[in-house]
Amino acid sequence: MAGNNMTSTEYIQHHLQNMTFGLHPESGWSMAHSAADAKAMGFWAIHVDTMLWSIGLGVVFLWLFRSVAKRASTGVPTGLQNFVEMMVEFVDGSVRETFHGKSRLIAPLSLTIFCWIFLMNIMDLVPVDFLPMLAQKVGAWFGADPAHVYFKVVPTTDINATLGMSLSVFALILFYSIRSKGLSGFIAELTLHPFNTPNKFAQILLIPVNLLLELVTLLAKPVSLALRLFGNLYAGELIFILIAMVGLWQLPLHFPWAVFHILIITLQAFIFMMLTIVYLSMATEEQH
């Protein structure tokens, strides 16, 4: 437990607070010293830990795959190349099964989603106090009050990270919809379904109903995508934190939860990837 004089609530809150840098109404551009500070910054703030870890892990992923891609041989593959090829074939297979259009973007997009989310999720398996403690020591060395150094290592437990990705996917859904059906086709899809009638007058009456239903369907996609990943990982992280508070008993508890969490980590990465493919394939294909 970090800081022996903390109450349980403080401990949990401390762990769930991002390291935030932003425009504070009183002290200007600065690090947030508390959750209240971070809240006061509003939109004009950035979670330094989330950005750091997600970009770092993304770079690790790309560096790993790029180093293999550069010396990819057509001969007998070895070690790392085997692994990379396995991943690529797995993603390629999933995309081919689900997405029937032709696109150079979908497959690399899916690979990036799967690997990146997997790497971000797997940070959850690092003991919850380990990296924050390290950050506090580094913070103290820089002259900051250790109690005010917040550090969250799992980027996917930050709604900003998951929503950032799902909104990008949403933008792609819109782009593909309009590209394959045209703007009028897309609008028709939003307004003429699911209730359709040959009677022109009745149809006009039905348009608002259709629009409402279809807009909810459309907007539910990015929101559910982001919240599903965020919720799963946030809950998992919270349980790790709770386990970390029970003292010595945390060892037998931590292990089974970590093992179980490996499943969640992989599954959530896979689900995010699969749903992205499905949504994009729905966007490109003619509906109904």
Binding site: G58, T74, G164
Partner: protein, 156 residues
């Protein structure tokens, strides 16, 4: 759970990663995979072709072997036939030669017999004459009785 600039930062990072992956990671790996796939397919193709060639060659070898066996059999049969023929011919020749020899011998014997008969005849007449001379002692007219004796000798 504050929504803030991180959202935009994440979206940008995501876009950059996807772009990088699409540009520098996916194509080379995919290309390597496809090339290897082609190579393996070619290899398998060549292997199956070689197997087929081998089968063909074996078939051909079998055919040739059977043909040569047949030929050998034929030659053997011919040789046997020829041998029999030669033996038969030799036998015929031998028989003919034997018969010829026998005929020659027989004719010689006949000649000998004839000659002996002639001699005998000549001698018989002489002997008869001499015997008669001795019996009759000079009572016989040699010229008169010679004719008689010769007639007698000719009847032998």
């Amino acid at each position: 759970m504050n929504l803030n600039l991180t959202l935009i930062g994440q979206a940008i990072a995501f876009a950059v990663f996807v772009w990088f992956c699409m540009k520098y990671v996916w194509p080379p790996v995919m290309q390597a995979l496809q090339e290897r796939q082609k190579k393996i397919a070619d290899g398998l193709d060549a292997a199956s072709r070689a197997t087929r060639d081998l089968e063909l060659a074996q078939e051909k070898a079998d055919e040739t072997l059977r043909e040569s066996k047949e030929q050998a059999q034929q030659i053997l049969e011919q040789a046997n036939k020829r041998a029999n023929q030669i033996v038969e011919e030799a036998r015929d020749n031998a028989r003919a030669e034997g018969e010829r020899l026998i005929a020659g011998a027989r004719s010689e014997i006949d000649q000998e017999i004839n000659r002996a008969k002639e001699e005998l005849r000549a001698q018989v007449s002489l002997l008869a004459v001499a015997g008669a001379e001795r019996i009759l002692e000079s009572s016989i007219d040699e010229a008169k009785h010679r004719e008689l004796v010769d007639k007698l000798a000719a009847e032998l």
